[in-house]
């Protein structure tokens, strides 16, 4: 039965009036226990779909609700019923609160929650406190039992991660849907691995000819390279011919991420005679300025 806003407000006030008595019955620990039970209810109810984590009444949508109590056992419950004034809405309340109590006495077993209730969604404001649970807001028309909530939380986590991956993998923005994105990701990883293989093959061919002067460079010089960036003067810009890189058959993938930053900026301080030393400085400068590093600093 639909409740008007006024009735609902009255109900809430009444409830606040009632709850002190109710807690008296439960005893000193009652309030804590009830809260525990209520938060448990918040995570797991087929029947308690009426209780959402909403603060205000105004956003409530009133719907019909019918509630069937399957198990009424304790004497205490009868006492509670006797205490509460007889209103239809409060009848609902007391039944629900009885249920809470029963859950408490039954050690919060899930079997108590499952039942043959025919309660459809009815949203009312509740005084359920926020706890340290993962709060997944149950939307209208969705089940609020424990499993659905957990699965929904899981799915949201997964989609968050997919979004992050979308930012990493170039070309993922155009594709929508998990399958397409996963496709792109797979292709990208495969192409990266192929690149590494190819480069290492090249390296193995060139290996005897390489002169490794890199150990002669001190850490100081490297730091100077990094910090001198704003003042650095471009003396020998090195443009790499991107077309010479043969593995560009994947037209859809954007390699600008890798190929874009081939210009080097040499600091004026570090003019060395050895070409390898200059080149190795270029190496570090290359790798610093690209968008890859911007990813790490980007929030």
């Amino acid at each position: 039965m639909d409740l008007s806003v006024l009735e609902r407000v009255n109900w809430l006030q009444q409830q606040q009036m009632v709850s002190p008595d109710f807690f008296e019955i439960l005893g000193s620990d009652g309030r804590e226990e009830l809260k525990r039970v209520e938060s448990y209810l918040g995570n797991n109810n087929d029947e308690m779909q009426g209780f959402r984590h909403y603060e205000t009444i105004d956003g409530c949508i009133s719907r019909t609700s019918s509630f069937q109590m399957e198990q009424v056992k304790n004497n205490e419950e009868n006492r509670v019923i006797a205490l509460q004034p007889k209103r239809k809405t409060e009848g609902k309340t007391e039944k629900i609160e009885n249920k809470k109590k029963k859950i408490k006495t039954e050690d919060e077993t899930e079997s108590s929650m499952k039942g043959k209730s025919n309660m459809s969604n009815s949203e009312t404001s509740s005084e359920i406190q926020k706890r340290d649970y993962i709060h997944v807001r149950a939307r209208r028309g969705e089940a609020t039992d424990r499993h659905s909530l957990a699965e929904r939380a899981r799915r949201e986590k997964l989609s968050k991660k997919m979004k992050c991956l979308q930012d990493i993998v170039p070309g993922c923005n155009k594709v929508t849907g998990k399958a397409g994105m996963l496709d792109e990701i797979i292709n990208y990883v495969q192409s990266l691995q192929q690149q590494v293989e190819f480069l290492s093959m090249k390296l193995s061919v060139l290996n005897p000819e390489l002169e490794f002067h890199i150990n002669e460079l001190s850490t100081k010089q490297f730091q100077a390279c990094f910090t001198d960036l704003p003042e650095a003067v471009s003396k020998q810009p090195m443009m790499v011919d991107a077309s010479s890189f043969p593995l560009q058959q994947h037209g859809s993938l954007d390699y600008s991420l890798i190929n874009s930053n081939q210009t080097t900026i040499l600091s004026s301080k570090d003019q060395t005679s050895s070409s390898w030393e200059i080149h190795s400085q270029c190496l570090y400068n290359n790798l610093r300025t690209d968008s890859v590093s911007s990813f790490f600093s980007h929030k």
């Binding site: 968050k160 390296l203 390489l210 150990n215 080149h279 690209d290 590093s293």
Partner: protein, 158 residues
């Protein structure tokens, strides 16, 4: 932030010279691992074919050593160390048991793709879906850095 899931060693990017963004740290480590190894290879000249394989191994090893914060690097190191001996390691915990998707066509596709992804990622066989997605993110980043490092080395040599 969402990116913190992927960028596990997120640092404050300040202008102080001592603090470096993770990409630089990785690249430095990588090069410092790879170059001495290549030098060593240079010393003991073996036949070209073997050389290729060993270079690849060194490349992968340098990658794994430079990225030890991530799970996949551990698996990669395991693979590399056991590749000297014949291996029978792959414990394939089927991804079907871990994905709680319903089994209609679309989700079946996704499962297949996730399986493929598992194969690509070192150690992917033993991870569940969430971990795979996280690890793939930083694996891709490290691969990219590795490719650019290798490229620079190769180009500087030619």
């Amino acid at each position: 932030m969402e990116r913190q899931m992927i960028n596990k060693k997120k640092r404050v990017f300040s202008f102080e010279p001592t603090k470096l963004p993770p990409s630089e740290v990785f690249t430095r480590k990588y090069i410092s691992h790879l170059v001495p190894a290549l030098k060593k290879l240079n010393m003991g000249k073996s036949s070209p074919q073997i050389n290729q394989l060993t270079v690849k191994r060194e490349v992968d090893k340098a990658l794994a050593l430079s990225a030890q914060e991530f799970a996949w690097s551990r698996f990669l190191l395991q693979k590399l160390s056991s590749s000297n001996n014949p291996t029978t390691t792959t414990s394939s915990s089927s991804i079907q048991t871990q994905i709680l998707e319903r089994s209609n066509d679309e989700d079946g596709e996704i499962e297949e793709k996730l399986k493929e992804l598992q194969k690509l990622l070192p150690g992917g066989e033993e991870m569940n879906v969430e971990e795979i997605l996280t690890e793939i993110g930083n694996y891709i980043k490290c691969l990219e850095l590795q490719t650019s490092a290798l490229k620079s080395i190769v180009q500087d040599a030619t």
